[in-house]
């Protein structure tokens, strides 16, 4: 029971659309009741006509039941069609909500958590997990509810004619429903819960096999790795086999139960018929109705043996939400940054930063005056980018503080701070959109002329002019249509469009050939005039001219500036 708690946040999302969900369930119910009406009324009608034919009078009102039968025939078709359409619309709405929700959760994560989770594998899993949750309503919530209502309704209906038959329907169908839902869920739990992770492990093995193919085939070790793959595959198939068997057994129990209930109703009816308590047509109607009402139970074992998988998916999405650092929780009371457009100062005072066990900085001090240009050089992985991330408040230092124009960043709303900072990250992150749209991220109001101007500044104008679609050219997923150097310069142009008083450039010239790098150094030199700048690079040559250049070196207790 406790395990089901993982579903709670997602039930909350469902609850936001409860009107639609209820209506969808009603349509499902209408479909089931139409089928019930059709079959039981037909059975009643035929028996009644036979009885009437046998008896002397031979008269029967055929028009009322006849039109009833026609009505149920049409209403079953119509309600089924509407139900499917409506419920799929609901599910797609829910999926849109869920995506939005998860994305909003991700946006509020801090940079360190994100960098841990950026692997595209993780992302693929995330999308797949969201899609899996659509099962929740369409297969796990609405059908058992509809089945319950129809069973109770039909049993009550039967009890009106023959109380003992009604009681017996309750006694057989309700426990049967319990077996089909809770029983199957419990029985399939372990295998289906585990299956999600096993499938994930198989995926990991597949990636290893693809990425490590060179190494594995050179060592003639492919077979050894295949063995690992086969082991994972076997255990996955084993789970699936077990689940399939158990689903089949669940179906077997449900079918047996339903058919025996039908027979039991019939026999009870027969006894009552002989005692004259019930008429022949009604007896047939009740028996056929039992057969029809059970249609609602038929799909439950299949859905519920897989409950574990849905819960596991929800658990994984929840875990991702828990990655959140407490910082975002305090952002409510953060004040907006008050500052003019003039070049600000940036001061790091006794800053301590640790990534887990590893101390990055301990008591680091750095002061950048307004309009000053400071370069920091050092080997990769030593903490240069951490300096930049502290400045944009991607996360807060464990000790000491960072001040923007003498205001402690710890009390500032990240958005208002980031609006004053142009930060070129180490990776050129471009979006699957047009060149213009990627550039306009820096300045949404920039005119085409301004875009061309900034492209000229980063030496991309002549290239962009050769593109048949010019600024409307799509840059491809993660900017893959561009070369590394072009992507770098597009990212730089985006930061330049931002026109911010404080600029942080992390390896601005990486991936560029020597000529372009030299030209860009000159451009940047002019553009940086009048701005406060923090420039990060692996050596002096990789940076434009600085007022002062520090070297970040590893020390016993984290990086030191020398």
């Amino acid at each position: 029971m406790k395990a089901l708690m993982a579903l709670r946040p997602w039930l909350g999302v469902l609850a936001e659309r409860r009107g639609r969900l209820l209506l969808g369930a009603m349509l499902m119910l209408a479909t089931l009741l139409s089928a019930l009406g059709l079959l039981s009324l037909s059975g009643w009608f035929i028996t009644a006509t036979a009885v009437a034919a046998l008896s002397a009078s031979g008269y029967l009102d055929v028009f009322t039941p006849g039109s009833g039968i026609r009505f149920f025939a049409v209403s079953r078709t119509a309600s089924r069609y509407l139900e499917r359409l409506y419920n799929h619309d609901t599910i797609l709405r829910l999926l849109a909500d869920l995506r939005g929700r998860v994305f909003a959760g991700l946006v509020s994560l801090d940079a360190r958590t994100l960098s841990r989770a950026r692997a595209s594998q993780w992302l693929n899993r995330l999308t797949a997990d969201i899609d899996t949750l659509d099962n929740l309503y369409l297969r796990l919530m609405a059908p058992p509810l509809v089945a319950l209502i129809s069973v109770v309704a039909f049993a009550a209906f039967a009890a009106v004619f023959l109380p003992i038959a009604g009681l017996m329907l309750f006694a057989i169908l309700l426990p049967l429903g319990l077996i089909a839902t809770a029983g199957c869920a419990w029985w399939g739990w372990r295998a289906s819960h585990r299956r999600v992770d096993r499938q994930e492990r198989l995926r990991v093995r597949a990636i290893e096999q693809v990425e490590g193919l060179a190494e594995l085939s050179a060592y003639q070790a492919l077979e050894a790795h295949r063995e690992l793959w086969r082991r994972e595959e076997q255990s996955l198939l084993g789970d699936q086999r077990q689940l399939g068997r158990r689903t089949a057994t669940g179906n077997l129990v449900v079918t047996l139960g339903i058919q025996l209930a039908t027979l039991a109703v019939l026999l009870l009816g027969l006894t009552a018929l002989r005692e004259g308590n019930v008429s022949g047509p009604v007896m047939v109607m009740l028996a056929l109705g039992t057969l029809a009402v059970s249609e609602g139970l038929g799909n439950l074992p299949m859905a519920f043996t897989q409950l574990g998988a849905t819960v596991r998916t929800a658990e994984r999405l929840n875990a991702q939400a828990e990655l959140k650092t407490p910082m975002t929780g305090t952002s409510v009371k953060d004040e907006p940054l008050i500052s003019s457009g003039a070049a600000p100062s940036l001061v790091y005072q006794d800053v301590d930063v640790a990534h887990g066990e590893q101390v990055v900085f301990s008591g680091l001090n750095l002061s950048i005056d307004p309009g000053q240009r400071i370069g920091i050089i050092g080997a990769s992985g030593i903490g240069k980018s951490t300096l930049a991330q502290l400045a944009v408040r991607a996360f807060d230092p464990e000790g000491g503080h960072v001040e923007f124009n003498h205001q402690d960043l710890a009390g500032l709303a990240p958005d208002s701070l980031r609006a004053r900072i142009g930060y070129l990250t180490q990776r050129s992150e471009l979006f699957h959109d047009t060149l213009a749209a990627n550039l306009r991220m820096g300045d949404p109001d920039a005119s085409d002329a301004e875009l061309w101007k900034v492209l000229a500044q980063v030496e991309l104008k002549s290239w962009a002019e050769t593109l048949p679609e010019g600024l409307a050219t799509w840059v491809g997923e993660q900017g893959r249509q561009l070369s590394g150097g072009q992507a770098r310069r597009v990212a730089l142009a985006r930061v330049m469009l931002r026109n911010s008083p404080l600029v942080i450039l992390d390896e601005p010239l990486s991936g560029l050939d020597a000529d372009t790098a030299t030209a860009l150094k000159v451009t940047l030199d002019a553009w940086l005039a009048g701005r406060t700048a923090l420039l990060l690079g692996h050596d002096r040559q990789a940076l434009p001219v600085c007022d002062h250049c520090w070297r970040l070196v590893p020390g016993v207790s984290g990086g030191k500036l020398v």
Partner: protein
């Protein structure tokens, strides 16, 4: 099948029972035969259904296993060079998830298709025997169903394809935005993109509803016919029983046959309805199969089949290589390499390498230098056997193993020991430790509490770039490989770890292995016996910057 016949018997007995009771006022004791028949039929039917499900599933599981095995073999055949251009996560999802979606087709749709053809036929014959007019009505209704479904299916097919594209774009968009989340935050666009993400998802919803409207029509048609048939049969039988219908066989109807027919009417449509429920299994399997077949098909730009010039050269190479290689390889000491007028070109394009010939003796250390794109890596890949030369012969003793090391060492999910044993399954713990020490990971091992059982990979301890590289080095020490090919082994490392890795390389060379290294690093060039520059596809000997290898060892 058995389930179908059992259903038939069950319904027949049920109808007989009711007929006896209502028409003949029979006592419960008199109909006990009927009751027993029903119970037996119910049990047989349920068991048969169970058997069908289990067998279908087994079939689905086997198909998946086979398809996966074939895909893996295909990946191996494509080789690391041609796979490099593909997205590994995408390939993995093809191997795992897309193959997964084949199961429903084999375990549910296909068996159901056979049933949908056979079972209604049996029912039809029985109904025909009972009352031919009712049978004719069912007969008319039944073929109409596949006809309508086909008509609607054709429209849906096209819409489905459009839908498929929309899904791909949708998840593409989502992935793209999540990847760039840091940038979105920095530019203050996070809020706006949250709206954008759900807007795109809603747009997708509107689009797919158009598809669904049509797709669901097909099942509605089926539903309609099934329902109307039941209704028509019921009314016909009722009126017939009352004697209102004088035409045809109506007069022979009694309660038994009437009820029997009524009970069979829905069962007649049930297999078809089940089939249409499994229809989406077919759709998703077809979607997946398309992608898988493209992967399994030979590549169009396969160098072996494309370029006529290369083709010719290949014929020669293929004809000569086996025996020549065999005889020569037999002479070659493990670790030695001989290239004889080797050429390499991409299909239809100019030559990348060659013609070049070189001879490397066992235990030598060779360095290849040259700007990126000059063909250093291709040369190593050719020696490793990942790509075949367009002309000439590569003679290498590739068994039992050669060692390969590039910038991205393979780290499999599992313990440190498992990671090492991939190349030497029988190595003892002591051998593993010694290999780690030689690769410069001795201290790391000492500080890891779980030692050789330290879990690595996604859920385990992350290794830094330098540690990963040294793990790869440890594999080399562990493996029986005499020839070690290294593609820019220090390119992604900082100076300190670079020094450690180079020290490990020096120890490797000292252990008598042949090292062939593509590099830019002066220290590695310095430890080489010979250094070659690759320019315009040709090798030229370069004098080493610092004199000798002894300085380092």
């Amino acid at each position: 099948m058995l389930a179908g016949i059992a259903t038939l018997i069950q319904m027949g007995a049920l109808a007989w029972l009711v007929d006896q009771a209502v028409s003949s006022q029979a006592a419960l004791g008199e109909v006990s035969v009927g009751i027993v028949t029903i119970v037996v039929a119910i049990v047989v039917r349920s068991l048969a259904q169970w058997g069908q499900e289990v067998c279908g599933q087994e079939c689905g599981l086997r198909v998946k296993q086979q398809v996966r095995a074939r895909l893996l073999a295909r990946l191996q055949q494509l080789g690391p060079v041609r796979l490099a251009s593909r997205h590994s996560a995408g390939l993995a999802s093809q191997l795992v998830d897309q193959v997964e979606s084949l199961e429903g087709y084999y375990s549910r749709f296909l068996p159901q298709m056979v049933l949908a053809a056979l079972i209604p036929l049996i029912y039809l014959i029985v109904v025909f025997w009972l009352n031919w007019l009712a049978a004719i009505w069912l007969l008319i209704a039944a073929p109409l169903i596949p006809l309508f479904m086909a008509l609607i299916g054709m429209g849906a097919q096209r819409l489905n394809e459009a839908q498929f594209q929309a899904v791909t774009r949708l998840s593409g968009h989502f992935l793209d935005r999540v990847r760039g989340i840091t940038t979105l935050q920095l530019f203050g666009l996070a809020e706006r993109s949250v709206e954008e993400v759900s807007e795109v998802a809603h747009d997708y919803r509107r689009r797919s509803l158009k598809t669904l409207r049509v797709a669901f029509l097909s099942s509605a048609v089926l539903e309609f016919f099934a329902a109307v048939s039941v209704a028509v049969v019921a009314i016909y039988i009722g009126l017939g029983l009352l004697g209102y219908i004088q035409y045809g066989p109506a007069e022979q109807l009694d309660l038994f046959s009437g009820l029997f027919i009524l009970l069979l009417a829905p069962e007649f449509f049930q297999p078809l309805r089940t089939l249409s429920q499994h229809y989406h299994d077919r759709a998703s399997a077809l979607g997946a199969a398309e992608g898988l077949v493209t992967l399994l098909e030979p590549d169009v730009d396969d160098p072996d089949v494309d370029d006529p010039g290369a083709d010719e050269a290949n014929v020669v190479a293929d004809d000569e290589r086996p025996d020549k290689a065999e005889s020569d390889v037999a002479e070659l000491v493990p670790g030695a390499v001989r290239l004889v007028t080797v050429e390499l070109r991409h299909a239809g394009r100019e030559r990348i390498l060659g013609p070049l010939s070189i001879r490397v003796d066992a235990g030598e250390v060779l360095a290849f230098i040259g700007p990126s794109g000059s063909g250093k890596s291709s040369l190593l890949q050719m020696i490793a056997g990942f790509i075949a030369p367009s002309a000439g012969a590569v003679q290498v003793q590739r068994y039992p193993a050669i060692a390969w090391l590039d910038q991205r060492p393979l780290i499999i999910q599992g313990t440190l020991a498992e990671n090492l044993r991939v190349v030497a399954p029988c190595a003892s713990d002591e051998q593993l430790r010694s290999a780690l020490r030689q690769a410069g990971l001795g201290q790391w091992l000492a500080s890891a509490p779980a030692g050789l059982d330290t879990p690595l990979g996604e859920r385990g301890v992350g290794l830094s770039g330098g540690e990963g590289q040294r793990l790869a080095l440890a594999r080399v020490f562990l493996s029986p490989a005499k020839l070690v090919l290294l593609d820019e082994p220090t390119a992604a490392l900082d100076p300190e770890t670079e020094r450690d890795v180079i020290a490990g390389l020096t120890r490797l060379a000292a252990s008598g292995r042949t090292l062939i290294i593509a590099t830019h690093h002066p220290a590695i060039m310095a430890m080489a016996d010979r250094v070659y520059a690759i320019e315009a596809g040709r090798l030229s000997r370069v004098e080493r910057p610092i004199s000798s290898r002894e300085v380092h060892s």
